[in-house]
């Protein structure tokens, strides 16, 4: 990779780090896994940066890598995901403001199966269209629609989100 591409990647990496960690957090509910997913996505982007740059949408690429890597955790290792927020390592630099909202929301999101959670995050947090979400997840638009419908129904029925979202 030439110097200009290195500098461009460095700017991209520093500019997206926080956003990607937050995406990882909302996908996994775990700060360590979130940072690891973000590292994985950026490392893969670095390894193919010239091609990704030519394709013109590096953000879409790293998001897709993160979603797929998170889904892969379940496919490959059969991870038994814990639905509590109990993590072994402390989060030393976390701010405390808005924590109660976050705990409630994360508990609600973590109660969704990983596929439904990914669709909800892409559609409503990243504001993707159904077509974009389908492309990012490698599934059909119909599948996205049905996953969204099931996820929202589950969230509406969940008592955790009742407290956190309604006013």
């Amino acid at each position: 990779m030439d110097r200009a591409a290195e500098a461009e990647f460095s700017e991209f990496m520093h500019g997206r780090w926080l956003q990607l960690v937050r995406l990882g957090y909302v996908l996994t509910g775990d700060r360590g896994l979130a940072e690891d997913l973000a590292q994985t996505a950026l490392a893969r982007a670095y390894s193919s940066w010239p091609q990704i740059r030519r394709a013109g949408d590096p953000d879409a690429y790293v998001r897709r890598v993160m979603v797929n890597a998170n889904n892969g955790r379940f496919r490959k290792r059969r991870v038994a995901e814990q639905l509590t927020g109990a993590v072994p390592e402390p989060a030393p630099v976390d701010a405390t403001g808005g924590c109660d909202d976050r705990v409630t929301l994360m508990a609600a999101l973590m109660s969704l199966p990983v596929g439904q959670r990914s669709v909800v995050v892409l559609r409503f947090w990243l504001d993707m269209s159904e077509t974009q979400a389908a492309a990012a997840l490698g599934c059909s638009v119909g599948n996205v629609k049905s996953q969204v419908s099931r996820a929202l129904a589950k969230l509406r029925a969940g008592t955790a989100l009742d407290e956190g979202v309604t006013s």
């Binding site: 520093h14 950026l42 290792r77 402390p90 630099v93 909800v120 929202l152 009742d162």
Partner: protein, 360 residues
């Protein structure tokens, strides 16, 4: 919930995540990992035939090795540690297998490096030398089924031993990188570490007993002289309470022992925080544990009997200090910015320390 739709959820998540901070971008680790991926991809493309040929050669050798040495024991299958040369090549300071899969610990990021291993979060900056007189300073990172341990070793350390709870002992040899010495390894989470010991060419330098953490993160903050008796274990509950904001019962425990002084939150939200057991100034008030649930805990000197909190709403609250082995401990759960100031008092009511915000 009737008015809720997906857009509400997006906005709620957006607001909630705005409170999440992240550490500095681990640029060096990301680039190093990206380069490894690229090298691996190129090697696969260019050398498919060579790999097949190498496998053809290696398989008889592996078969011979297995026949000669017999089947590995269950622990050996779970963890092996290779002895590397004295100088790190390409930043590699450790390699072996865990749960049958190869692991490699690499340093990246210049003279104050981080340690990385595939599939695990990187450690923080390791520095170049252990803290104080310690023979080794170990950082631990990990998630899921494995833990990454790495850190700088004193130049006088010839090797370390690591004894697992099941009695199996491994040797770790420091590897030089940019003129400094490091050890690094990956341990499966279900193989808890019972003890580390550091040796010079002439004998044992020190030993350390990691805190027996529920999640098997082997925290090492205190090294003991060889032959020194391990300090007795003391355990007590520092404080308990109910946080109505979060509908959350909390409880903070202190465990003092050969590992040092560790505070742990029973809920697991804040994990475990350890420091060497030390003699603090009599009027000291320090903050040790602080996390997103608003739960805070700390250590005081022996003269502090209680801490008076002045809250933003004008009320006051008294915080009890628990004393064990010459150290005082306190814990509280409080909303951010809810405490305006604090004053520490002796048992006879003399104010001996004060500050603004939460204690410490």
């Amino acid at each position: 919930m009737s008015g809720f739709d997906g857009r509400d959820l997006g906005q709620q998540v957006d607001r909630a995540l705005a409170t999440i901070a992240a550490g500095p971008t681990p640029a060096a680790a990301i680039v190093a990992r990206g380069r490894r991926i690229r090298r691996r991809r190129r090697a696969v493309r260019a050398g498919a035939v060579a790999v097949v040929a190498a496998l053809a050669v290696a398989i008889p050798a592996l078969v011979y090795s297995a026949v000669r040495s017999g089947p590995p024991g269950p622990v050996a299958r779970q963890l092996t540690i290779a002895k590397l040369g004295p100088i790190a090549r390409n930043g590699v300071i450790g390699s072996g297998t865990a749960d049958g899969k190869p692991w490699t610990v690499r340093l990246a990021g210049g003279l104050d490096p981080v340690a990385t291993a595939a599939g695990l979060p990187a450690t923080g900056r390791l520095g170049t030398r252990p803290g104080g007189p310690d023979p080794v300073t170990l950082q631990v990172a990990g998630s899921g089924a494995q833990r990454l341990l790495a850190g700088p070793a004193s130049p006088g350390v010839a090797y370390l031993t690591m004894r697992l709870a099941n009695g199996t002992t491994y040797r770790l040899y420091p590897v030089a990188w940019h003129g400094h010495h490091y050890v690094g390894l990956v341990v499966p989470w279900n193989l808890p570490v019972a003890q580390f010991a550091a040796y010079s060419r002439h004998g044992e330098l020190a030993y350390a007993i990691p805190f027996p953490d529920t999640f098997h993160f082997p925290r090492v903050v205190s090294w003991l002289r060889p032959g020194a008796a391990a300090p007795a274990v003391s355990t007590a509950t520092v404080g308990t309470g109910f946080d109505a904001r979060l509908n959350y019962h909390w409880s903070v425990q202190v465990q003092i022992g050969p590992w040092g002084t560790c505070l742990l939150d029973s809920s697991g939200y804040l994990g475990t925080w350890c420091r060497p057991t030390a003699a603090y100034p009599p009027n000291a008030v320090t903050l040790m544990m602080s996390g997103p649930m608003g739960l805070k805990a700390g250590i005081t000197g022996r003269a502090v009997a209680y801490i008076q909190l002045r809250l933003r709403n004008g009320k006051t609250a008294r915080l009890h200090v628990l004393h064990i082995g010459g150290q005082g401990f306190y814990a509280l759960s409080v909303a951010i910015d809810h405490v305006a100031s604090w004053i520490a008092y002796t048992a006879t009511g003399h104010a001996i320390a004060s500050g603004t915000g939460t204690p410490g």
